[in-house]
């Protein structure tokens, strides 16, 4: 394995980065004094990857929506039972999740790290899908989908995604639909598994209380040599304009819940993409955070309360800016925010507030690597982007007011915006 040490002078810290012959990347971050260790084995594969071509194949394969999440549930099952049992034997707490562009398997433990780590590496590399086990999951995932059907936060976010995106699969539910998951077969699961669970497409991260030499030894024993095969994903050919300006849905809620946002095109270079995300994080705080004139005005008018928040929603092949909360009049809030943007574009940004927001983001980035779970997760996420977690504080320190003003002028195209509302169902 090729080994390097990634350091941050600013924080006086470092972690070990290994590259296995298979292409698997491994980050080891021992943390002094902690009792627990937290390990993630994840792949660069999520709900948006429902069309792909593996190197050497003539055509793209299209698979049912929700299959990455279904695969995650089913990978927990092996011929001898389920993987939870492996971790139960060591007392570790295991879990897994699927997002738009990632699938992660993880555990945390305070004892017998080596056994749990071996179990994690083994079960993720051992798919076992049969007609029977695949059929059984329909009921469980069907109820998971049902649970989200009733969740206003989830529904309002997907309302916005379906308004913003015309072709990008980001607008489809991560778990799929009851109909789409009914089409999933063991053969399809194996096909996706072979395409995306190739070590060259995966990252292992461990943080906390463990011996890095033991971890390296176990990795050498357990990682199977697989021929790296490139996976090609289609260009979604997403136009810059939003598909429609507004979506409205009715649910059993007390007051309208809303999301509005702008679709953006992500940068090809990871460093540029990180810089843009940081600039927009600062802008969001500056323009719409609790320190902003806009929030103060809306709050005093009784149009926004502290449920209001914003985020840079970004991942592989997508970026958007999201603003959401509860309001008796979401359309008034949206239109007031659009006016705020125009005014800021005209007048420029206040330098003092820009520096305060930058300061705040620096502090929050530092707090992001404060415990074993957040540290392992942050290391994993930035490695998947092709960066180091330490690039974040360096980039924050370097961004300027001029760049933020440029991002403000370019990032909020009126044709790329939309509003989503979940309103109370008529009784």
């Amino acid at each position: 394995m090729r080994k390097s040490v990634i350091r941050s002078e600013r924080m006086g810290e470092s972690y070990i980065r290994l590259e296995h012959e298979s292409g698997l990347r491994i980050l080891l971050y021992p943390m002094q004094g902690f009792r627990s260790a937290y390990a993630i084995f994840g792949t660069d594969y999520g709900s948006i990857d429902n069309c792909f071509r593996v190197e050497g194949e003539p055509d793209f394969t299209e698979v049912p929506d929700g299959i990455a999440h279904y695969l995650e549930h089913k990978l927990f099952e092996s011929e001898d039972g389920d993987a939870f049992t492996l971790f139960a034997r060591t007392g570790a707490s295991a879990n897994a999740y699927t997002s738009f562009d990632r699938t992660c398997y993880l555990f945390s433990c305070t004892d017998r790290f080596e056994d749990s780590f071996r179990a994690l590496l083994q079960f993720v590399q051992q798919p076992y899908f049969t007609e029977e086990t695949v059929a059984k999951e329909q009921g469980i995932i069907g109820q998971e989908i049902r649970m989200y059907d009733d969740n206003p936060g989830w529904q309002v976010m997907f309302g916005l995604l379906t308004a913003l995106y015309r072709r990008h699969p980001i607008c489809r539910d991560i778990a799929g639909t009851v109909e789409s998951i009914a089409q999933i077969t063991p053969e399809l699961l194996y096909r996706c598994y072979r395409a995306f669970y190739n070590p060259a497409n995966m990252v292992v991260t461990v943080a906390g209380n463990f011996d890095p030499e033991a971890a390296e030894r176990i990795l050498n024993e357990e990682i199977r040599p697989v021929q790296p095969r490139a996976v090609e994903r289609p260009d979604f050919d997403e136009p810059p304009e939003a598909l429609r300006p507004e979506t409205v849905k009715q649910l059993d809620v007390s007051e309208p819940v809303f999301y509005f946002g702008w679709k953006q095109a992500p940068c090809a270079s990871p460093r540029e993409e990180l810089r843009e995300q940081i600039l927009f994080n600062i802008l969001l705080d500056l323009l719409a955070g609790p320190t902003s004139e806009f929030y103060e005005r809306m709050n005093r008018a009784g149009l926004l309360n502290q449920t209001f928040g914003s985020e840079v929603f970004a991942g592989r092949s997508y970026r958007a800016l999201f603003f959401g909360g509860e309001s008796r009049d979401p359309r008034a809030v949206f239109s007031a925010f659009c006016e705020t943007l125009e005014k800021a574009k005209r007048d420029g940004l206040p330098e003092e507030e820009f520096l305060e927001c930058k300061n705040a983001l620096y502090g929050r980035a530092l707090r992001d690597i404060n415990d074993v779970e957040t540290a392992a997760t942050a290391l994993f996420s930035y490695e998947m982007m092709g960066l180091s977690v330490y690039d974040v504080s360096e980039t924050i320190a370097a961004v300027t007011l001029e760049e933020a003003e440029r991002a403000l002028r370019e990032g909020f195209d009126p044709r790329a915006r939309a509003l989503s509302i979940v309103e109370p169902a008529a009784r």
Binding site: M11, G33, G139, Q143, E144, S254, E293, N305, V372
Partner: protein, 436 residues
């Protein structure tokens, strides 16, 4: 047993304690002022409102915007308020969390700043003619009303709340978390100001520090502020004295939802449990429905495919064990029967040695992990302090090790089904869409 107790605890004024876990592993400090009060029908709404009012601003930063900017200058420090229930008591808290001075670019004393700000919020709110400022009060009243109404939005927590309110009807534990809508209007600036003074006068105050910094400067500021104040902390009844009804009470509420929610409340004995009984009940909860190898997860979810979640949790202060699940409308009865079957199996001891070991290992892992999070440490040691105990999480893990199979069966046999609540889908109005 008897691991070194890491909490440094000191009385700094009458009814006012300052506790600290100095821990160099964290790059941050967490400073929390807990105001512990009895939960009562008359004060529950005011007590939910006041932390919201106080956390927004203070004399030095007299608007929410000015205060938020003050926190941004302190490297994005956060100030949060919460009102949690500990059995029959309410813990109102204001907390300050920020990076340590070691990482502050301009060398600020972050802990002392945190203490100064928390004291400012508590003792120096923005006043108008001697009363809490009207505009902030009106905004927070509206926010509390919105929060009470929005309880229905999240169906899982709504169903749990409804179950507790019905199970503990007429008792402090049954009072709704955010109080009553009809009480909010009555809270005038004069009433809110009186409530602020009442809370400061009658609360037991528990101040906690967890983090890498030296808390002595912060402690001195708190001591100075509380010393010499004539306060009258009220006695607290932490443990519920609930007795279950002769036969279980069943409730059904219809809503236009895609998934029905089933909650079952079991009475688990009133008053404080002995250490042995407590550990047995905790282990029994884990075997029954606390982990992915539990009876409920393996049999009700995995084998019968009835639901996505079906879990049990035990509350030592309420003396209650609650099972909750999200199910297809026509599977609620089947799920309820399946849950009761699993409980019967545990009562009869029909679980393997492996199931028991797995549950034990899982709980021990949880206890050993408590110390790795600042919030986990704060909440654990607040519990110990209120109970007058000096146990560490490791001590509790070791007590779990000593629980026998018979004790687990006995614990299951102590459970009495008390309340069943079903949020039933009415099948109408589901997901109507426009523009799609």
């Amino acid at each position: 047993m008897n691991h070194a107790y890491p909490l440094k605890r000191e009385q700094i004024a009458d009814g006012t304690m300052f506790s600290s876990v100095a821990d160099s592993r964290f790059k941050t400090n967490l400073l929390t002022v807990n105001l512990i009060l009895p939960t009562a029908r008359e004060t529950v709404t005011e007590n939910a409102l006041l932390p919201l009012v106080l956390e927004k601003c203070w004399e030095e930063a007299p608007t929410n915007r000015a205060f938020s900017r003050q926190l941004n200058r302190l490297y994005g420090a956060s100030v949060d308020c919460a009102s949690a229930r500990i059995g029959g008591a309410s813990a109102l808290s204001l907390s300050f969390s920020a990076i340590d001075s070691a990482y502050a670019l301009a060398g600020e004393n972050m802990l002392a700043e945190g203490a100064r700000i928390l004291l400012g919020l508590l003792f120096r709110p923005v006043l108008q003619n001697g009363l809490l400022e009207e505009e902030n009060l009106a905004l927070q009243k509206q926010y509390l009303a919105d929060t009470i109404l929005a309880d229905i939005n999240e169906k899982r927590s709504y169903a749990l709340g409804q179950t507790l309110q019905r199970m503990f009807e007429g008792e402090p534990c049954g009072l709704p978390r955010y109080g009553f809508l009809e009480d909010i209007e009555k809270i005038t600036p004069a009433a809110a100001t009186a409530a602020w003074k009442r809370i400061l006068d009658t609360a037991r105050v528990e101040i906690f520090h967890v983090g890498m910094g030296d808390p002595s400067g912060a402690k001195a500021l708190f001591s100075e502020a509380f010393r010499g104040k004539q306060r009258h902390p009220l006695p607290l009844a932490l443990f519920s004295s609930h007795t279950p009804p002769a036969s279980p009470r069943e409730f059904r509420e219809e809503k236009p939802v895609a998934q029905s929610k089933l909650c079952m409340g079991f009475a688990a004995g009133s008053g404080p449990a002995t250490a042995a009984d407590l550990s047995a009940m905790r282990l029994m909860t884990a075997v029954f429905g606390g982990t992915p190898t539990s009876r409920l997860f393996v049999n009700v979810r995995e084998k019968r495919s009835l639901c996505y979640y079906c879990a049990a949790r035990y509350d030592r202060f309420k003396g209650a064990l609650i099972v909750d699940s999200g199910v297809e409308h026509d599977k609620a009865e089947e799920t309820k029967a399946a849950i009761l079957e699993e409980l019967e199996a545990v009562r009869r001891g029909e679980f393997t040695g492996e199931e028991l070991d797995f549950a034990r290992l899982s709980l021990q892992n949880t206890y050993r992990s408590v110390g790795d999070s600042a919030y986990g440490l704060e909440s654990f040691y607040l519990g110990q302090s209120l109970l007058g105990l000096e146990e560490t999480p490791e001590d509790q893990g070791e007590q779990i090790a000593a629980v026998t199979r018979e004790a687990v069966c006995e614990a299951a046999n102590r459970l009495v089904l008390d309340t069943v609540y079903l949020l039933a889908g009415s099948g109408e109005g589901e997901n109507t869409c426009e523009n799609q």
